[in-house]
Amino acid sequence: MSNNLVIFGGDSHPKLVAQICAQLDVQPSKVELGKFSNGETSIAVKSSVREKDVYVIQSGCGHVNDTFMQLLILISACKSASASRVTAVIPYFCYSRQPDIPYTAKGAPIISQRKSSGSASASTPAATPTAGGKTVTTTQRPGADSPFKSLDSAIRSTIQSPTPVRPPPTTVGSSRIPMIPEGGKLNRSGGQQTPQPPSSTSAEAEELFNAQNAGYKLWVVQAGTLIANLLTAAGADHVITMDLHDRQFPGFFDVPVDNLYCKPLVQNYIHHCIPGYRDAVVVSPDAGGAKRATAVADALELSFAMIHKERRSQLLKGPPDATLTSGADIPSKPLLQHNPPPAGAPALHRSGSSSSVSSASSSKFVQTTMIVGDVRGKTCILVDDLVDTSYTITRAAVLLKDQGATAVYAIATHGVFSGDALERIKRSPIDKIVVSNTIPQERTLAVLGKHRVDILDVSRVFGEAIRRIHNGESISMLFEYGW
């Protein structure tokens, strides 16, 4: 390797840095990373970088803002020390996703505190409260008196008070009638009730605020462009990353972005490590990832299934002028007819569905989950790019097992596993979870045990990409075949 190459590692993932350097047969250059006593990041680059080709490896994990600032300062230090080119190698790109904020039916985000409790069950979906704009009549000015204060608890209290809820349409029968949540959160006293105004006025104001501002007056920032510009401002000349959540993300940059793929490694894993993979089904846990999963399925000539999640607002259903009643007559058991597939049916049909209803705080939203495709008696391979809260894949695994899948593998490139995601996976019917080491996975191994976790090593892909970019060779073959 030419002595022109200099590799620095941030402190987010030293093991991967060491592995990539081992692939390249170079030593990582010395850099002192630390913090001043007031919390500012301090960096001292200990070897010369003048006219060198510098690669800075920092994954977007750990404490994201600290690692990101460290990356920026390190890039800036190299650039101002006359490095000829600085490449940021970011195996997991932070801030590449839109935040997971519940939205109202009209598209406005509901801003609420992230709940720390109540997430114990493997199948508890994210809470999705919505604005009950139609039913609230109040003269309080919207937005008055800081409507964001304790919004979440306010919404919950509204729901626990006798909120008028539309009864299910009388013609239950078609398979997609949503379900009203069961449980004691609704007024079950029976009979037609005249709608009572919610008791809490602050909740009224907040519901009204959200309703009247729906889709119009609330913004949630999209950090993507900003993060891209910050990297460029710091002096990055090139960015290498892997499996960006958004395929459009490289477009935010003014510098070239090489988005490597984990797909060849995933295919290789399926090929070699999943017994009887030829009969397995590749399953996408949501519609957004269908393209990613079909690519894997096509390459291995496997069949494909998809889990489709529908979230419908109760308010949009039913005749527009129906009297609002309390949720007295709501069936507490599912609503969806199970139509057993006729023998010899084509591979793509609705083979099963189940409805899960969002937890108590989201009475007006109904969630229907269904599998498109046949999974009975087969090994299922869930393919996704990222596992964060793990709600999606654990729910998918439950559904797949319910539908008769024999084994469930979950393969994801980035295992973020925030919160109690790992405990949730531990309790879930997922037989094996496969993630790459773009993010340190020591905790995953510790919690789930070696037999339930396999780690894909991406250091060879990154090492080869760095070697090729350094030598000015094409890296497109890495997209197809991996390394």
Partner: protein
């Protein structure tokens, strides 16, 4: 210029200063909400329209999670920019990374320059800060920077709270001599200097007093108090040189590390900081701390900036 009014934004932590400014201006804080991911990623939402408005984002950056505050600020600026604000002014009284302003060693990062680049990249049109560690940092920016001075507020504090005919102004190091001398001139007081040889950052090695402090109330003036090791050491030296008592007035009371212990165990009578840095929680732990409120200066500068008036008046005078 119809419908162009001041909008004050502040992150959800350390809103104290923003609330004071808001009260003085009679402009309520705009509803906004920061959403934090468990991994630390930050997202931000503004609760009302800011199209064509004059945005002022007030942030207090203290010790500890500096990088979180910085990213929050950048994201807030960018959110306002993409929401079509007319002008975005970042009010950062305690400018982060201000001490990383030069290449003091080979390949050391000039992080202050990086901060300037990042703020402009995010979409900041104007920066208001206070007592920059080096006023040359203003040159790092491509946008106008108003470096306000805490000096008028400090002068007022000394006049009201210290028997200042017996006082002497002390600069704890040669770098701060100009600041201390300026204050001494304003108050018509004498001036002394402590010369210090710094071995490493946040560590003090040897100190020499230049000037006579016998029987005087010594007022140590500095722009930043971090671990307060320097201040404690300086107080000892001043008392060894027969000073009557020692108080310290610093603009940015970062008070990190074991600063509180250092102050409590030191011979300092009082440590006075402005509220550019949030330290309300530390006031309970340390009875020697006192506060100078600079929200008036910020509020007046916001008003003047919004109306296109001169700000230089505030460099010498305390607004009423």
């Amino acid at each position: 210029m119809a419908n162009n009014s001041i909008k004050l934004l502040a992150p959800d932590v350390h809103r104290g200063l923003a609330e004071l400014v808001s009260k003085r201006l009679g402009v309520p804080l705009t509803d906004c909400k920061i959403i934090r991911d468990p991994t630390g990623e930050v997202s931000f939402s503004i609760g009302e329209s800011v199209r064509d408005q004059d945005i002022f984002i007030i942030t207090q950056i203290g010790s500890g999670v500096v990088n979180d505050r910085v990213l929050e600020l950048l994201i807030m600026i960018n959110a306002s920019k993409t929401a079509s604000a007319r002008r975005i002014t970042a009010i950062i009284p305690n400018f982060p990374y201000a001490r990383q302003d030069r290449k003091d060693k080979s390949r050391a990062p000039i992080t202050a320059k990086l901060m300037a680049d990042m703020l402009t990249t995010a979409g900041c049109d104007h920066v208001i800060t206070m007592d920059l560690h080096a006023s040359q940092i203003q040159g790092f920016f491509d946008v106008p920077v108003d470096n306000l001075y805490a000096e008028p507020s400090v002068v007022r504090y000394i006049k009201e709270n210290v028997k200042y005919d017996e006082a002497i102004i002390i600069s704890p190091d040669a770098g701060g001599a100009k600041r201390a001398a300026g204050l001494a001139d304003r108050l018509d007081l004498n001036f002394a200097l402590i010369h210090k040889e710094r071995a490493r950052a946040n560590e003090v090695s040897r100190m020499v007093l230049v000037g006579d402090v016998t029987g005087k109330i010594c007022i140590i003036v500095d722009d930043m108090a971090d671990t307060c090791g320097t201040l404690a050491k300086a107080a000892e030296i001043l008392l060894e040189n027969r000073a009557q008592s020692v108080i310290a007035i610093v603009t940015h009371g970062v008070l990190s590390g074991n600063a509180i212990n250092n102050i409590n165990n030191s011979k300092l009578d009082r440590v006075v900081c402005t509220n550019t840095v949030p330290f309300e929680d530390k006031m309970k732990l340390c009875p020697k701390l006192d506060v100078i409120d600079i929200s008036g200066v910020l509020a007046e500068s916001i008003r003047r900036l919004h109306n296109g008036e001169s700000i230089s008046y505030l460099f010498k005078h305390y607004p009423l």
